[in-house]
Symmetry: none
Subunit: 364 residues, 2 copies
DNA sequence: CCGTATTTGTTCGTATGTATT
DNA sequence: CAATACATACGAACAAATACG
């Protein structure tokens, strides 16, 4: 359409307007003279003016509004925005992720964005694969829950590629050791774990077993909160009283170790668990061994999941903001897309946890 | 530039040409009739023809050569696969959807596809919005769980647009009344409901209340299965013993109606519920009124959800294939993308349900 | 190479419709 | 309601590129 014929009247007019825009004589948001006015100024027909304007409109430099006039666009921003946001989580169907995604979806849909969903099964290899794939697509931003976030990230080059392409990204639930300064939304897991542990101490417990995941940020933080509460209460921290596990043995090791503790006669009057799922597994094995919860041993969970509320025993647990966390991550990413600096950000980065008291703990 | 005004002559002409291109009537490389010829055929001025052509030229579907004519570009057919699949569900975080999506994701990721996720909150208006949005994106296919599938679909034009663009789609969980012949993956809900109802009859119950959702395919099918089992056992079907509800009152009406039945002294020895969620609500209100489950009344659920297995009472319910259903939908869609005809399809379309016996029913 | 027919490209004039202020 | 601005539409003319006899 845009032919070389530089002598054409519409072409001259088009070039003249384009020059004014690039020179800044016409600034984004400015209204340009009306079609009739331009046809007077340039001594051409209105049709010729329209032809020139239609080219600039197609190039995205101008925008005509019926009844209002023709305006210079703000194309410096949102240049060819795809309105796609990638979301990479560790799991899809695990108990808190659906609601996390729902929170993001709520905000993003409102603003006209679509979500491209990926999950890694908490494997860094799959995360790298997902990032690789996403880099070939046209996306405006990324929300990512890192896989095994406490392990050194072995695909930094992919994040660097994102930086080079100016694609903003926001971490949720945790960040890699190398990337602690990157924008992220987390809950205060140290505080949450501190709260449950302190609660157990106040109930009179002092032989408190801890079970923590060690390959993600949350596990490390929850471990830290547990230690803080013990230390504060002058209960010596005993590493042998703590069971640690990885993603791979999460379904077997906690139960097996507790069973082992019981046969070895390790003293325990309470167990602080990494999350509700582990807590339920622990309660199951305790019951199997003839130990009652909460009469013989108190058990706490974390995340306030569906299981915590609707299971056979209502768990004492820690609130997880779920939707809210997702919403905040989406809001923060939108800020980044709009180019708002961290200094001017209005999105909170850390959510405070809350103790939720159920029926799985009892005074000693 | 491309305005919505569908009545404009240039717009009609433009759409007509576009359709001929997507339908293959005009193939890449073909010369389309000259401007003068088109203005004769469509009885519009040459100026109007040029306006229509300029849009298609801008979209890259046509290319005009001075003195030669206007040609259909290669790029028109060359629908470079985006490897994006849109998935539209009614909900994201409800109990079965995460696993449905997980099933799809498993198959699609394997084949190098990404999922663009949308949810409608079971509103047709939101579904139309989602489809509208998706049509602007470059997708290879769509898996959709229709919103209020038993209600007449008010946005057929969007599905027709999908057909025109040759984007294959597969329904899951249900289909609209007008689209029963379109490819869809469902479970045999008539059979499932028949199984639970028959089970209750075999336990000696004959005053069996039914609670069904009436705005989706599943609800209608489950209602049908309930009636079939009663009829087969020569128990007269009593419409007054059936409670129906819509999406909007799903959290209130079932409980309220059961409470009303109790105060009115309606005879009941068993309740067949639309799904596990309703069953749990019903059990809650029964307990509140001092009626024990299963001692006084038997209650059945449907879907075999987390709640059914981990709740205070293990529900007697009907299996829901969840992941498997999602996997089949993905497989079927991939077949469609590869252009495999229904006759040669290897993907089963209907999944058989299975009765899962819990502790919420008792012999009379 | 010329001439002619065909086709797209440029330009003007004019009229009417519709959205916004 | 009137004025303004963009949107649609028709008709007409000439220019420039191309194909072909």
């Amino acid at each position: 359409m845009t032919k070389k014929n530089g002598r054409a009247k519409y072409y001259v007019l088009m070039e003249s307007l384009k020059q004014d825009i690039t020179d800044g004589k016409i600034k984004p948001g400015d209204r340009i003279p009306s079609e009739n006015r331009l046809s007077e100024i340039f001594q051409v027909s209105r049709h010729t003016v329209r032809k020139a304007l239609s080219i600039l409109e197609n190039e995205g430099l101008l925008e005509a509004s019926h009844g209002l006039g023709t305006f210079c666009t703000d194309r410096a921003r949102n240049h060819s925005s795809s309105h796609n946001i990638a979301v990479i989580t560790t799991y899809i169907s695990d108990y808190i992720f659906p609601r996390l995604i729902q929170g993001m979806d709520k905000i993003l849909t409102e603003k006209g964005y679509s979500i491209i969903l990926k999950n890694t099964g908490n494997s860094q290899k799959n995360e790298a694969r997902a990032l690789d794939d996403i880099l070939t697509k046209n996306i405006d931003g990324l929300i990512i829950e890192p896989s095994k976030s406490e392990i050194f990230c072995r695909h930094m080059h992919l994040y660097e590629a994102m930086d080079r392409l100016r694609i903003p990204y926001v971490f949720i639930q945790g960040t890699y050791p190398q990337m602690k300064e990157k924008p992220h939304i987390i809950m205060d897991d140290v505080q949450g774990s501190y709260l449950v542990t302190k609660y157990l101490i106040e109930l009179g417990h002092n032989k408190i077993i801890g079970i923590f995941k060690i390959d993600d940020t949350q596990g490390a933080a929850r471990h830290k909160g547990y230690i803080r509460a013990l230390t504060e209460a002058d209960i010596p921290y005993d590493p042998d009283a703590v069971i640690t596990f990885h993603t791979e043995d999460r379904d077997t090791k906690p139960s097996a170790m507790i069973a082992d503790f019981i046969t070895r006669g390790v003293a325990m009057d309470a167990i602080v668990c990494y999350n509700d799922q582990v807590a339920m597994d622990v309660i199951k094995i305790l019951n199997l061994k003839g130990i009652r919860v909460p009469e013989d041993v108190s058990v706490t969970g974390y995340d306030n999941s569906l299981i915590a509320q609707n299971g056979p025993i209502r768990l004492t647990t820690v609130s997880h903001p779920k939707e809210y966390l997702g919403e905040m991550a989406a809001e923060l990413l939108l800020e980044k897309i709009q180019g708002i600096e961290d200094a001017d950000s209005r999105v909170p980065r850390v959510v405070a946890p809350e103790l939720i008291i159920g029926e799985s703990c009892k005074k000693r």
